[in-house]
Symmetry: C5
Subunit: 345 residues, 5 copies
C-alpha cells in the first residue's frame, strides 16, 4: 500500500542531485506577433528575446540546480524563492517581492491514483513570466500555448499578468477533472455498498478517505494563495486582471466545497458499511436461530422415544410412530407461523 498522504512529502528532495537536462521554452507574443523557441541554456534564451512582446519562459525539469541558480542570478530572484522552487514538498503559496511576485502551486492529475506536480509561476516587471514545472507529466500548459498561438480568447490582448492568471486558472481547472474522477469512483463504491459489500469495499472506502485527506491538504492552501494575490499591493497585477482572479477564487471555493461534500459522503458511507455488515450478521443469525429452533425440539422428541425404558406405553401403541410424526409436524408448522409473525422469514 502506497502512502498517499505523505507521498509528495517523502519522495521530495532526495534525487535533487541527479542532473537532468532542462528544456527551456520561450514564447513571445503581442497582439500581432507570435514566436516560440526551444533552448537548453538560459543565456541563449535571454539573448533571443525581443522588445515590445510579452515573454513566457517555461522551464521543464528542476533537477539541474546549476541552471536554476544561474536563472536566479540573471533575474535576481531571492534565494528563498529558489529554495521554494526546488523543494517540491512545498506548501502552495504566494509571495510578493519587490520586483517580482511568485505563486507556487500543485498540479493534480489522476494516473493510477492521485498524483501531483509542482508549478512555480514568477511574474516580473518587464512583461516577463517564468514558470518552473517539476517534470513534464501534466500537459495543462500546452493548452495555453495553443491558445496563444491561435490567438484564441483574450490572452493575446492582455498583459503578462493576464498570462500569469491564465497559468493559475489552468492549474485550478485541472482539479475539476480529478474531482469528477473521484465522483465516479464514489458512485461505483456506493453501488457496491447497496449491492454486496465485502472486505474489499472497506479497504476501498478507507483508500478513498485517504485520498480525500490528501486532496484537502492540497486544496485549502489554494484559496489562501489566491486570496493573498488579491490582497497584495503589488503593481505587477493590474486592476482589470483582479476581476479574473476573483473568478478563480470562486472556483477554488467550489473545489473546497466539493471536497468537503465528498468527505461527508464518505463518512456517511462508512456508517452505511458498518450498518450493512450488522444487517448481514443479523440475517445469518436469523437463519441459525430458525434452524436451531425448528429442529432442536424435534430432536428432543425423537430422543425421548429412543430411550430404552422397559415400560414406555407409547412405544407399543400401533399409531405411536405416526402420532409422534403428527405432533412433530404440528410443532414445525406452529414455529413457522411464529417466525412469519416475527418477520424472520
Amino acid at each position: 500500500m502506497n502512502s498517499t498522504v505523505l507521498s509528495t512529502e517523502t519522495t521530495a528532495i532526495a534525487n535533487e542531485n541527479k542532473a537532468e537536462k532542462v528544456k527551456i521554452t520561450l514564447v513571445e507574443f503581442n497582439e500581432t506577433e507570435y514566436d516560440e523557441q526551444v533552448f537548453t541554456d538560459i543565456n541563449e534564451c535571454v539573448k533571443h528575446t525581443k522588445k515590445n512582446t510579452i515573454k513566457w519562459i517555461n522551464i521543464d525539469g528542476i533537477r539541474d540546480i546549476d541552471m536554476i541558480e544561474r536563472i536566479g542570478k540573471l533575474f535576481t530572484i531571492h534565494p528563498l524563492t529558489l529554495e521554494d522552487i526546488l523543494n517540491t514538498i512545498q506548501r502552495p503559496k504566494f509571495e510578493d517581492y519587490e520586483h517580482y511576485v511568485v505563486a507556487i502551486m500543485k498540479m493534480l492529475y489522476y494516473n493510477n491514483g492521485l498524483q501531483s506536480e509542482q508549478l512555480s509561476i514568477l511574474l516580473f516587471e518587464n512583461n516577463t513570466v517564468i514558470s518552473f514545472q517539476e517534470e513534464h507529466k501534466c500537459n495543462v500548459l500546452d493548452t495555453i500555448r495553443t491558445n496563444i498561438r491561435q490567438g484564441k480568447g483574450r490572452i493575446r490582448k492582455f498583459g503578462a499578468d493576464y498570462l500569469a492568471y491564465s497559468l493559475i486558472d489552468a492549474v485550478v481547472d485541472c482539479y475539476f477533472g480529478v474531482l469528477e474522477k473521484i465522483d465516479d469512483d464514489i458512485e461505483l463504491l456506493e453501488e457496491e455498498l447497496v449491492g454486496d459489500p465485502d472486505k474489499q469495499t472497506l479497504t476501498r472506502l478507507h483508500h478513498m478517505k485517504r485520498q480525500m485527506i490528501f486532496l484537502r491538504k492540497a486544496v485549502w492552501p489554494l484559496r489562501e494563495l489566491i486570496n493573498n494575490i488579491e490582497r497584495s499591493e503589488t503593481k505587477l497585477i493590474k486592476q482589470s486582471t483582479t476581476i479574473y482572479l476573483r473568478d478563480v477564487l470562486d472556483h477554488t471555493i467550489r473545489i473546497i466545497d466539493t471536497v468537503e461534500s465528498f468527505r461527508d459522503l464518505l463518512s456517511s458511507m462508512m456508517d452505511v458499511y458498518l450498518s450493512s455488515t450488522n444487517n448481514k450478521m443479523n440475517e445469518v443469525m436469523k437463519v441459525l436461530t430458525i434452524i436451531t429452533t425448528l429442529f432442536v425440539p424435534l430432536t428432543f422428541i425423537v430422543g425421548v422415544y429412543g430411550m430404552n425404558f422397559d415400560y414406555m406405553p407409547e412405544l407399543h401403541s400401533h399409531w405411536g410412530y405416526f402420532g409422534v410424526w403428527g405432533v412433530m409436524i404440528i410443532i414445525f408448522i406452529v414455529l413457522l407461523i411464529y417466525f412469519k409473525r416475527r418477520k424472520w422469514l
Copy 2:
C-alpha cells in the same frame, strides 16, 4: 442511483451547443401603467421599451449562445458575467460591476428528488432588470409577474432595485418548500425507525444525508451572496431596499439553521438505526439461547437413557420413564423461571 451531490455539476455545459429557441418576456410597469410582451429576438424587445417605466426582461433558456452574446453586447455586460450565466455549475455569487450588478442563484425544487435551476439577475442603471432562467421548470417568477400585473404589494411603487430584490426573495422562499418536503420525509423515516427498520431504511437514510450534503452546498453561499449585496457600495440599490435585503438575509440564515438541524437529526437517526439493528440481533440471540438452553440438557438426558449398556438399573424400574419426564419438566420450569428473572422472556 443518481449522484445528487454532483448532479448539477456534471450535467453542465455539455449540451451548450444545442441551440434552443429562447423566449424573451418584457414586462414594463410604473405606478400607473403595465405592459407585458413576448419576443424571440432581443433587438425587437429593446426597440419596444418605453420611457419612465421599470423594465424587466426575462430570458427563458440559455442554450442559444449567440443570442446571449448579442444581449451581452447590447448591454455591455462583462465577458466573465456572460460565462457565469452560461455555466450552470456556477457557485451562487454576487458581483458588482461599474454600471450593473449581478446575482447568480440556484432555484431549488422537489420533483422526484432535489432539482436545481440557475437564475441570473442583472440590475442596470436605467431602471432595467434582466433575468436569465436556465430552463423554465420552476415557475417562481410567474407569481411575481402576477403580483406586478395586479399591482399587489409594494412592487409597483418601488424602483428596479426592489424588483431585483423581489426576484431574490422569491428564489429564497422556494427553499422553504423544499425544506418542508424534507421535513415530512424525515418524519416518515423516523416512524420507520421506531417501527420496523429494514435495509431500505438504511438506504433511505443515506440518501437523505446525501441530499443534505447537496443542500448545504447550495445554501451556504446564499448567505454570503446576500451579505455581499448589503456590503457592496453600488448606487444601484437604494437605502430603502437594503432594509428588505436584511429580511432575506434573515431567511437564508433560518434556512441554514434548519439544514444544520436536519444534519444533526439524521446523524442521530443513523445512531438509532445502528442501535436498533443491535437490539434486533440481541433479541434473535436471546431466542436462540433460550431454545438451546431449554432443550440441550433435556436432549442429553434422553440420550443417556438411549444408551445400550447391559446394566442400567433405572431402565428396568417401573416408574423410570415417568420419573425422567418429571425431572425434565422440573428442569424446564426452573430454566423458565431463570429466564424470567434475567428478563429474557
Copy 3:
C-alpha cells in the same frame, strides 16, 4: 410522533385569517403613579394615555390582522416589522428603525414537550413600549406587571428602556426553567442507562437529542440579538441600561454553554447505550456458549453408547454405565473450571 424541530415553523401563518379577539392591556406608571386598564380597541387605549408616564401597551393575540395594521399606522411601524410580528416562525432578531427599535424573541416553556411562543417588543421615543404576545400561554409578563404595581426593584425609577430590558430579561430567564426540566430528564435517562436500558431508552435518547437540536436553534440567535442591541447606536437605550444588557448577555451565553454541554452529554450517553447493548449481547452469548460447550460433548458420549454395533465391549462391562457417568461428570467439572478461569462465570 410530533416534529419538534420544525413544529414552530410549519404550523405558522396558516390560521392567520381566523380573527380572534385581541386583548390590549395598558400599564402606565412613573415613580409615584400606577394605572392599569384593559381595552379591546387600540384607539380607545391611545386616547387614555397620560403625560409624564411610562406607557406599556401589551397586545395578547396577533391573529386580528386589521387591528395590528391599525396599530402599525398609529405608531408608524415599518411594514416589514409588522410582517415579522405576524410571522411566528420568525428567527429571533433585533432591528433598529429611526424612531423605534424592535426585538422579536421566543418564550420557551415546557408543557408536554418543549413549546414556544413569540414575543415582539417595540420601544418608541415617547417613553412607550408595545409588546405583542402570540397567545397568552406563557405568563412571564404577569410577574413584571406585578413588580411594577408593587413598585418592587428598580423598574419604577428607570425609563421605558429599562422596562424593555425587563421584558427581555424575563424571556431569557424562563429558558433556565426549561434547562432545569431537561437536566432532570437527562438524569432520569442516565439512571435508566446504568440500570436496565431497553428499546424505549433509545427512543427517549433520540427524542432528547431532537429537543436539544430545537433548543440550539432557538438559543443561538438570542446571543446575536442581545449583542446587536448592545452594538446598536440607537438613542432610545440609555448608557445606564446597557450595563443590564451585558448581564442578560452573560445569561444567554450561560444558556448556550449549558445546551452545548447537554448535547455532549447526550452524545456520550448514546455511546454508552450502544456499548451497553453490546455488553448485554456479550452476556447472552456467553450463556449460549457455556450451555453448548457443557452439553454438546456429553451428548456425543451418550450418543456413542446408543449405537447398535454388535461388538461394543464397554456395553457389557458391569461398571460401564457408571464409568460413563464418571467420565461425563469429570468433563463437566473440568469445563466449569475452565470457564471460571476465563471469567465467563
Copy 4:
C-alpha cells in the same frame, strides 16, 4: 448519581436567606508593615484601616445578605455586581465599573468528585482589594496570606493590583491540581481498558466524560475573563502588572489545551472500549463455533449407528465400532488442523 454538569447551577440561590455568620479578615501591609485582624462586622473593619497600606478585606461566606448590602453601600458597589457576587451559578466574568473592577471566578478542587466554589475579587481605587469567598472550603487564599506575612516574593513590594493578580493566579493554579488528579484517573482507566474492561469501566468512562464537560464549561470563560482584564482600559491595573496577567493567560490556555486533550483521549478510549467488547464477543463466538463444529458432525455419526434398521451391514462387522471411532478421530484432527490454519486456536 449526582448531576455534576448542573450541580453548581441548581443548588444556587435556594438557601440565600439562611443568615450565616460572616467572617471578615482584614490584612494590611506595605513594604515594612504587616497587620492581620478578624472582624464580624464590616463597619468595625473599615474603622481599623490605616493610611499608606494596601488593604485586603476577605469575606468568608456570602449568605448574610444584609452584611453584603451594607458592604455594597459602604464601597458604592453597583447592585448588579452585588447580585453577581450572591448568585453562585454565575458564569466567570470580569467587569469594569468606574471606580472599581470586579472578577468573579470559580475555585475548583477535587473532593469526592469535582467541586467548585465562587470567589469574587474587587479592586478599588484606594489600594483596597475585597474578596468574597462562597464558603471556606478551598484554602488557596491562605497560602497568599502566608506569603504576605513572610514577605516572600514580590507581593509586599507591589500595589493592590498585584495583590488582585495574585488572587487570580492562585485560583488558576489550583486548576492544575485538578487536572493532575484527572490525569491519574485517566491512566488508571486506560490500564483497565487494556486489561479486563467490564461494565464498571463503561460507567467510569462516561463519568469522566461528564467531568470533562463540566470542566470545559468552567475553563473556557476563564480565558475570556483574563483577556478582558488585559484589554480593559481601567487605570486601576498598572502596566507592570499586565505582564503578569499575560502569564496567567498562558496558564489558562494551557489548561484549556489539556482539557481538550483529555476530551480527545476519552473519545479514543470509548472507541477502544467498544472495539474491546467486540473483540471479546468475537472470542466467545469462536469457542462456540469450534465446539459446535467439532461435535455436531460426530454426534450425527453416532446417531446414524443408533438407528434401528433391520438391515445395516456395518453394525454386524466385527471392526465396525472401532472403525467408527477411527473415522471420528480423523474428522476431529482434520477439523483441529483447519482451525489452526484459520488462527481460531
Copy 5:
C-alpha cells in the same frame, strides 16, 4: 503504560533542586572570525567576549538555579522570563521585553516514543543570543554550530537576529523527522489492519492517537509563536530576517496540516478496525451457521430411526437404511447449493 499526554507536564519542576553542572558554550563570529569556548561559569564567559562579533551563549542544563539567576541579573532578564525558562512544562511562547525578546519552544525527537526538550532563545540588543537547553539530549544545535564554523550558508554574513531565526528554524525542522517516523508507523499499522488485525493493533492505534493528541498540543502554539514574532514591533529583528520567518511559518503550517491529516487518518483507521472486527465475527458466524444448518436436520433424521416404536414400517424395509442415506445426502447437497447462492461459501 506511560502517560504521553501529560508526561512533559507532570515530571516538571520536581527535581529543580538537584544542582547539576551547567555547561556554557560561547560561540563568537563575524564574517571573518570564528571562536568557540566552553565555560562552567557565566562571569568567566562574559569576560571573554570580544567586540564586533555576534555572540551566541548556549547553556546546557537548567537545574542550577543559582547560575540561571546570576545570568538573569547580568543581562537584566525579567523574573517572569526566568521562571518560564526554568518551568519546563511551559507552553511555547514569544514575548517582547524592552531590551530583549524571548522565544520558548519544544524540541521534539523520537526515542522510544515521543520525547520533548525545552529550548529558550533570548535575543539581546548588543548582537547577543543566549539559548537555554533543558538537557543535552537533542543535538539539533550542533548542526548550526558546525554551519557557523565552516561558514556555510548565510549565517556568518547576517546578524544576531538571523542566528536566532536559525535556532528556531532548526527546532521546527526536527518536527519533520518526527512526522516521518510517525508516517512510517502509520503505514505499518495500516498493513496490519488490512492483513490480520488483533488486539495489539487496537492498543497500537490508541497509542498512536495519544501521540497525535500530544503532538497537536505541541504544534499549534508554534504557529502562534511565529506569528507573534512577525507581528511584534521589536527593533531587534530586521526586516530582512522577517522574510525568513515567513518561511518558518509556512513550515509550521505544513506541520499542523500533516498532524491534522494523521488525526483524520487514524480516525478512519479506527473505523476500519471496528468494521474489520465485525467482518471477522460475521465469518465465524457463517461457519457456525453452516455447520448447524447442515447437520442438525440430519441428526434429527437419524434420531427418528433410532426410536423404539414397535411399529415403524421403514425399519423393516430392505432398502430403508440406504434410502435414509440417500435422503440425507440429497438434503446435504441442496443445502450446499443454497449456501453457495447466498454467497456464504
